[in-house]
């Protein structure tokens, strides 16, 4: 149960003990809009994530965390630089990706159950069997997931009939149902109370330990990052850059109790300090 922060931030940490590179951002930058309305969302960022890694991304609001996820999933093209996912230049099809958006956008004309089954309708190999299995096996799968996150019996409800936190949990189910090789989670537990949140941490950790997908998790909760991630990247304020990239070496499976232990609290404190420094630096820069 130890923590190894890279004191001197290495721009391209070579992860070891993991598979080949799954995600690679090379000097990728994103600017939205044109002319004098242009907003630089992400300055040149380099980031390599190995196959099967669990990386948490923390940083101040508006620093470009969501933008990185959108880059990786191919929803946004880099203004400059290169994004390579699964060995190919960005292409969502390159890998089976599960994405939980920050704002749980359920399709309003579908029940929660059908919303959750959506990836099965689109992604192979499920797609070919969708018509056959949607009323049996796939539906059971969806309902099993719903039960896991505490939404049993809400499958037939429409999205607007759920509370904010319930929607967020449904959103997580949709990201998981097609057993993706890569998980992009954008603050998936933000609207949940502490206990529900901790329950879901455990579920997610189990899932990761069994299937070993590559996970990129955006969060504001340092405890969450410490509990789940094997590596934590800290970003600077807008336009974001990666400031720090630390390994988290606590043994797995981690427990909620662990998060109150001194080592863990120390990690949190260290990260906190890092972010605080970055913030005040940014404010001085701006001032």
């Amino acid at each position: 149960m130890r923590m190894q922060p890279n004191a001197q931030f290495d721009r391209q940490p070579v992860p070891d003990g993991f598979g080949p590179i799954a995600i690679q951002l090379s000097e990728a930058a994103v600017t939205f809009g044109r002319g004098d309305r242009a907003v630089s969302a992400l300055s040149k960022t380099t980031l390599r994530i190995a196959d099967g890694e669990f990386v948490a991304l923390v940083g101040p609001s508006g620093c470009g965390k969501s933008t990185i996820l959108r880059l990786v999933s191919g929803l946004v093209q880099p203004t400059s630089g290169v994004v390579i996912v699964g060995g190919r230049e960005v292409a969502a099809r390159a890998m089976r990706v599960g994405m939980a958006f920050q704002n749980p956008t359920m399709l309003p004309w579908m029940t929660i159950e059908r919303n959750i089954m959506l990836p099965l309708k689109i992604v192979e190999p499920f797609r070919s069997n969708f018509r056959k299995l949607r009323k049996t096996e796939f539906r059971d799968k969806a309902n099993a997931l719903l039960e896991q996150v505490g939404l049993k019996g809400f499958g037939n409800h429409y999205p607007w009939q759920l509370s904010g936190g319930m929607l967020q949990r449904a959103n997580l189910c949709r990201a998981l149902i097609h057993e993706p090789r890569m998980l992009l989670l954008d603050e998936p537990f933000g609207a949940l109370d502490q206990f529900t949140r901790e329950e879901l941490w455990t579920i997610l950790q189990n899932l990761w330990m069994t299937r070993k997908p590559t996970v990129l998790l955006v969060t504001h909760d340092l405890r969450e990052a410490g509990f789940l991630a094997s590596r934590i990247c800290v970003m600077s304020a807008r336009p974001g850059r990666i400031l720090d990239d630390s390994r988290v070496e606590f043994a797995r499976p981690r427990t909620v109790a662990m998060t109150f232990e001194p080592d863990f609290v120390a990690l949190n404190q260290k990260l906190r300090a890092f972010i605080e420094d970055a913030r005040s630096a940014a404010e001085q820069g701006a001032g």
């Binding site: 959108r70 999933s73 191919g74 929803l75 292409a91 969502a92 099809r93 390159a94 990706v97 994405m99 958006f101 704002n103 956008t105 399709l107 309003p108 004309w109 959506l118 990836p119 309708k121 689109i122 992604v123 429409y158 607007w160 949709r174 097609h178 992009l184």
Partner: protein, 258 residues
Amino acid sequence: MFGIDVRQKAWSAGLIVLFFVAWELFCLMTGMSDLVLPRPSQVFVTLFQRFPVLWPHIVQTLATTMFGFVLGVALGVALGAVIGVSKTAYDTCYPLLIGFSSIPKVAVVPIFVLWFGSGTVPAVLTALSICFFPIVVNIATGLATTEPELEDVLKALGASKFDILWNVGLPRTMPFFFASLKVAISYAFVGAVLSETVASNRGIGNVMMTASSNFNVPLVFAGLFVLAGLGVALYAVFSLIEGRVTGWATRKNDVIAT
């Protein structure tokens, strides 16, 4: 509750009846000649008496209209999808389509007749050509205004353009598709009847033309009432489907529990 719904409908039906009563009274009070505007009661009597004669014409008009309408919907959805998705198609097709639809179809019917002879074919074509535009416009607008966030859900899964269209674009557009159907079905009737007045030996349009050249105004109006009735009947059918398909979009009243 059930009670509220029934009362609501009764209320609306009452207002509709009131409309006809007002019309009747208006004609009686102003002593309007039935050669200009017959009283609804006269029209209904005529309609009732001549119904056996009118029946085959009604069937004819309904059939051509439906045929043209179905083709028009298919064409409208296809064109709308293309225009809604591609900017070039938008810039190219809209001017042409608006140009075409600014042309009175009366001027086009004779051309159809010269090409395809009189009767059913030009009626179907006219119905089609008059009714597809509102559908195009609404489908295209619906697709163009679909929230990118909804599309992103599928894009992130690596869905094809068609997948996105089918699973997000079109469902999201449904409320406005049904809205345009209301316009389209009524215009389809107008188109079919128009063509029948110009070139056909059958159909309500033909009846109305004959009646009008006979100055049998109540019969003309009986034809109009039949058309209005058919329009409303088809609307009712679509309404049922609409309620099932687009309920999600008009959830306003369901939210407040009482």
